[in-house]
């Protein structure tokens, strides 16, 4: 049934393009931006978009395009690092919880997860900022910590489903240890599931980073960040709407792109598709 349309194809393409733009802007900003994103030029403040400043300038005369590009680096960096923490800690915990059928480890792992899950992220971020001073590291830890139970639960649920499959019984009859089965059989079969969730958590991370920066708990000046750009823009929204529109669009398109990428990847990675002739 090769002619049946594969859902998510066009979504995957759009997701790849948007995520590619985001990543491209972030990488490019390391070596080149049209202007120095931190350079102030009061004489050229609050200029609307033009050939010289494609996205206009802000109240200090900084180039908005340069700031959006540099902001991509902060957003993506925080989001990816936080997702990596969640995946790196949560997935092994989930695998462990599912592999121990005696229930004690399972209960312990999942109850700790519940406690973390129940703790408000923003409060933790404020706490971290109060103790260590606000900054990107605090944002990464706060967002990352809340990614852990997401991945742990998902991994455990997926792994429990796999443990009841015959191929796992066959591997056990072949004398494989629970650890070997978890690593060699279960984890690869959950890869699709986890990649999808990783993309979605990265999307949420971009949003969360913007939120934390907006309230001043994220990336600190002079590093530009979309959230703080929005905060700066709100008093000027009437006179200089581009200051709010472009970072807002950047956040929305990044979240959309990562989400579409996740969904599209799931459809491509799902082994059910491979079964089709």
């Amino acid at each position: 049934m090769s002619a049946a349309p594969r859902p998510g194809r066009s979504g995957l393409a759009l997701g790849l393009v948007l995520t590619g733009l985001l990543a491209g802007a972030a990488v490019l900003s390391l070596v080149w931006t049209p202007y120095d994103p931190a350079a102030q030029d009061i004489g050229r403040r609050l200029l609307p978009p033009s050939a010289a400043h494609l996205l206009g300038t802000d109240h200090f005369g900084r180039d908005v395009l340069s700031m959006v590009m540099a902001g991509a680096r902060a957003s993506l960096g925080v989001a990816l690092a936080a997702t990596a923490i969640g995946l790196g800690v949560g997935a092994p915990l989930g695998l462990l919880a599912a592999s121990r059928r005696d229930g004690v480890v399972d209960e312990a792992v999942m109850r700790v997860n519940d406690i973390v899950f129940a703790f408000p992220a923003l409060v933790l971020a404020i706490l971290l900022a109060a103790v260590f001073g606000p900054g990107a590291a605090g944002a990464i830890v706060a967002i990352g910590l809340f990614n852990v139970p997401v991945f742990a639960r998902l991994t455990r649920a997926g792994a429990l489903g796999q443990w009841s499959r015959d191929y796992v019984s066959a591997a056990r009859a072949a004398g494989r240890s629970d650890l070997a089965i978890s690593i060699e059989h279960i984890a690869p079969n959950l890869a699709g599931l986890l990649i999808v969730q990783a993309a979605i958590q990265a999307a949420l991370g971009v949003g969360a980073e913007a939120g934390l920066s907006y309230v001043g708990l994220g990336v600190q000046p002079p590093s530009p960040s979309w959230g703080r750009m929005l905060n700066d823009a709100q008093t000027l929204a009437g006179t200089a709407p581009w200051l709010a529109v472009f970072p807002g669009l950047a956040i929305a398109l990044s979240v959309l792109g990562l989400s579409l990428l996740g969904e599209g990847l799931r459809d491509r990675l799902d082994p059910a598709w491979e079964r089709r002739p």
Binding site: M1, A4, Y167, S169, A170, R172, A173, G175
Partner: protein, 542 residues
């Protein structure tokens, strides 16, 4: 002959440039039963879906499907909605998924009445109660407020039949209605289908892979292969003549020959048994109670079992009898709560299963699709148990060993580089057998290993197993619900019911003279082609 109720003329179905159905022509008179038989992929279910206008999107149907003269292929979607469930009732294979788990059984049956007969709520409820009573679920014992999960599989299938019949259809299509049920339940559901359709003068299309079931119920039969009707006709004369070679092959493959009783010389009863279970108990955690600990459910309750080298033992029982649970305990996959398992004289349990013991017993599971990691290549799948061997070959030697195994089970060495999804169900079972045999076990356990296969493939796998046991001197432990397989493949059998072994003995002797009432019920309920045809002939003679 009365005017046909349903007349399918030259029905063809194309999907993605492939012919799913090729010029299928069938007729069904009111009150008669038409059996559609074929292997998986033969197009028997697709024929039913095409009749209902439910062919997959993108498929183009040509020909005519006349229901009382009305061409359903030309009918619009609006008309077809009233045909489905109204003029034509449907019963599916899986009674668990065919019913809405959140709706009461009364509502599900009443819904069909309200939708298609325009009855009021109260009328529909009365009609539903009457219909459920007719299918053997009287409201006194089975209130309309029951939900599907409170019923057994057979009872759920009764609800599905009641829902399909409630709107007063002219035609009922039953797609493998008893395949998911135990044999004793199957017999009762088949009786029920026969009775309700006869009483209401409804035409019945019975789709099944099981020749014996169809021969028992159907007046006329059509045998399908690759989307074509290869042979069709009145049941008795069709089976007597079997003009088409494919029909003959199908009948031959489904009639498994009983295994000759083993000669006394081959018995090795004096030797200590290879595998021995004594007083084996296996408990599951039962339903959790609100207060206090869960009450354990005893799935295997004090079972004794022995298996000698080279012996073939069958373990028979219906679903829930504990046979698969017992097998998992024997394979040291699960903890046991009492008794002991000894393999080659040594304790063999989940927490003490040394590699040298584990390699003596290997297993083939039922589901040819679920028993392989879909991401692994065949070569790696087959080689996985090799880690149990102390001198496991590596590199090129390992590859040669895998290829030799593949050839031994009738596959090609080149198949080692493919992934399991590239193979058919029968080929996958061959791969599973290769995987089990690569460590040269002395016992091969087969958990419903041929149950999911088409009859011709089943016959091939059984003859492969015969062949392997002679060459390798293997002992087999067949766990199955299918008595014909046990009869064809084992020397000795154990019958399980509710976690206990109720009868044991030599296979031929048990089949000739079953002692336990449950065994007798099982034997009587097992569909048998010869018996069905004899009964049909006797009916005609009257």
């Amino acid at each position: 002959m009365t005017a046909p109720l349903l007349s399918i003329e030259n029905l063809s179905l194309r999907l993605d440039g492939r012919d799913i159905l090729r010029s299928v022509s069938l007729t069904l008179a009111p009150g008669r039963v038409l059996g559609l038989v074929g292997e998986s992929g033969s197009g028997k279910s697709m024929t039913a879906l095409a009749v209902l206008g439910l062919a997959p999107p993108g498929a183009t149907a040509t020909g005519r499907v006349l229901l009382d003269g009305e061409d359903l292929l030309q009918a619009g979607e609006r008309r077809m909605r009233s045909v489905r469930g109204g003029d034509v009732g449907l019963v599916f294979q899986e009674p668990m998924t065919a019913l809405d788990p959140l709706q009461t059984i009364g509502d599900q049956v009443a819904e069909a009445v309200r939708l298609h007969r325009g009855a009021s709520r109260a009328e529909a409820r009365r009609a539903a109660a009457a219909m459920l009573e007719r299918v053997g679920l009287p409201a006194a014992r089975f209130p309309l407020s029951r939900h599907p999960h409170e019923l057994s599989g057979g009872q759920r299938q009764r609800v599905a039949i009641a829902a399909a019949m409630a709107a007063g259809p002219r035609l009922l299509i039953a797609d493998e209605p008893t395949t998911a049920l135990d044999v004793t339940t199957q017999a009762r559901i088949l009786d029920l289908l026969r009775q309700v359709t006869r009483e209401d003068g409804v035409g019945l299309i019975l789709i099944s892979h099981d020749l014996a079931v169809v021969a028992d119920l159907a007046d006329d039969i059509a045998i399908l292969k690759d989307g074509e009707v290869v042979e069709a006709g009145e049941t008795l004369s069709l089976f007597r003549e079997l003009r088409h070679p494919y029909s003959r092959a199908l009948v031959e493959a489904s009639a498994l020959r009983p295994r000759p009783p083993p000669g006394t010389a081959s018995r090795t009863v004096d030797a200590p048994p290879l595998l021995e279970a004594a007083g084996l108990i296996r408990e599951h955690n039962g339903a959790r109670r609100l207060w206090g600990p869960a009450r354990p459910f005893r799935a295997v309750d004090g079972v004794d079992l022995t298996l000698h080298a080279g012996e073939r033992v069958g373990l028979v029982g219906e679903s829930g009898s504990g046979k698969s649970t017992l097998l998992r305990a024997l394979l040291a996959l699960d903890d046991i709560q009492g008794g002991a398992v000894r393999l080659d004289g040594r304790r063999f349990e989940r927490r003490r299963a040394p590699a040298d013991l584990r390699r003596k017993i290997q297993v083939v599971f039922q589901d040819p699709y679920g028993s392989f990691d879909p991401r692994w290549k065949v070569a790696d799948l087959i080689a996985e148990p090799l880690r149990l061997s102390p001198d496991a070959p590596i590199g090129a030697a390992r590859r040669r060993r895998v290829e030799a195994m593949l050839e031994q089970v009738g596959l090609k060495p080149a198949d080692a580089d493919r992934r399991p999804h590239a193979f058919s169900g029968g080929q996958r079972q061959r791969i599973a057998i290769a995987r089990a045999l690569i460590v040269e076990p002395q016992i091969l356990a087969l958990d419903e290993a041929v149950s999911a296969l088409d009859v011709r493939v089943r016959a091939q796998i059984l003859s492969l197993l015969d062949d392997l046991s002679e060459r390798l001197g293997l002992a087999y432990l067949f766990v199955t619900h299918d008595l014909s397989v046990v009869r064809a493949a084992t020397d000795r059998l154990l019958v399980m019911q509710n976690g206990k072994v109720v009868e044991t003995g030599e296979t031929a002797a048990v089949f000739a003279a079953p002692r336990h009432p449950y065994t007798r019920t099982l034997l009587a309920a097992t569909p048998d082609l010869e018996r069905a045809l004899a009964a049909r002939a006797a009916q005609v003679a009257l």
